[in-house]
Symmetry: C2
Subunit: 246 residues, 2 copies
Amino acid sequence: MAKNMTAEVKCGDCPIRHRAVCARCETDELERLEEIKFYRNYAAGQTICWAGDDMPFVASVVRGVSSLSQTMEDGRTQMVGLLLPSDFIGRPGRSRSPYDVTSVSDVTMCCFRRKPFEELLVAMPHVSERLLEMTMDELDAAREWMLILGRKTAREKIASMLTILARREASIGLAALGGMVTIELPLTREAMADYLGLTLETVSRQISALKREGIITLNGKRSVQVPEMSRLVMETGDDMDGGVIT
Amino acid sequence: MAKNMTAEVKCGDCPIRHRAVCARCETDELERLEEIKFYRNYAAGQTICWAGDDMPFVASVVRGVSSLSQTMEDGRTQMVGLLLPSDFIGRPGRSRSPYDVTSVSDVTMCCFRRKPFEELLVAMPHVSERLLEMTMDELDAAREWMLILGRKTAREKIASMLTILARREASIGLAALGGMVTIELPLTREAMADYLGLTLETVSRQISALKREGIITLNGKRSVQVPEMSRLVMETGDDMDGGVIT
DNA sequence: CGCCCGGTTGACTATGGTCAATACGTGTGG
DNA sequence: CCACACGTATTGACCATAGTCAACCGGGCG
């Protein structure tokens, strides 16, 4: 079971303090949040909420990785969101989740019951402003993902996923030591396949191919090292790229 | 060239009055919008803004259809948004568009220069609330699209697109006469291909196949009739489906 | 009239999916 | 301590779906 974080954690000490939905709050506003927030922990692989079920709260991911995905009756599934620390889950005004929400690793969430949170949105423009901004970032990310899903080859998909994870891990603060970038994969091959719209066999083959060509090296199954980021970026199909990391 | 709409159109008479970003405004708020809004017309096929360029305004689509798309250097393109009347373009706080914006048909936009619009967002919570809601709807739509792009077969993609267009046209007020649903396609085969992550040949073949099997009939190239919506919905791969239209 | 654009259709091919065998690592129980 | 099983990953052989390349159709317009 996950290591517990209890409600005694002060917002001021929170690891996602400056990136989450509360990022722009002043200390007096944080106090109000502290009154109504509560934490929940989920072990890796748990289903937090099935598509169509009621989610009685909205939440920020504090620690760990969780995913949003859609499943067709015949079992085909597509991951539509990968939520890293500071990302927000849930939609004010709608309590039924349109997606399956799953904990990919052990996860801690900072939760708010819907009603108080919605009141908060009205009362604290700092929160609703930030939520709008985060939602627009998510929309941009989803659209970037549409290009990957719709137009890229299997190899480009893998390279793109690795590049995106490298960027996100870098921005959170893990990552890079002296030219050599290390990417911790939070996902199994199957989860990567669901993310990329591929089969797990194709994911495995393409990772093997990148390894064979020296573009990446593996350290165990879940840790990827990239000697030269630019070579990996070339394999994504998009050129100059939004930059970052080199 | 597009039929002109001039700034003299009163917000109260606007066809998108109740669905656009201004939907929740009171009459006094509309008066403030009226002072700063201006209209622009674009002929079918025009590029409104290239990816990376500055868009000096944000806007609502009043009339016509436009698209957002991403292009890779080798020319592969993926449409990432299809904007029908009442949809919003642009992001407060960012002036460079990450996407190519194109008018699919003749289009009229209701525009606001960025600066006054951003002030408005602060001053009029009705607008920012509505913008948040619309952005979340867009995000849900993008995620639905990710499932289509990542996991559906060509035939399911076509059926899904037709179903979605039917829903949207119905909600705008065109559509349905006595069981027989008619869908006006605003897109060429090539644009559909860009939307669905297919080639135009595959689009053409799948439409022909659906026609051959009597699931749809064509009236010219751009008008699709669906004798029995439920048969079309069956071909989308998702079952019960969010309902609507029958 | 002839050209151009959008669309359809056909023949062939390539990319990625399917099915199946095998490998590897970890935790459990004899 | 080893045997085994289970979950995860890799690899191979074969196949199906959609992409490529090309010919052709048909309507509108100069």
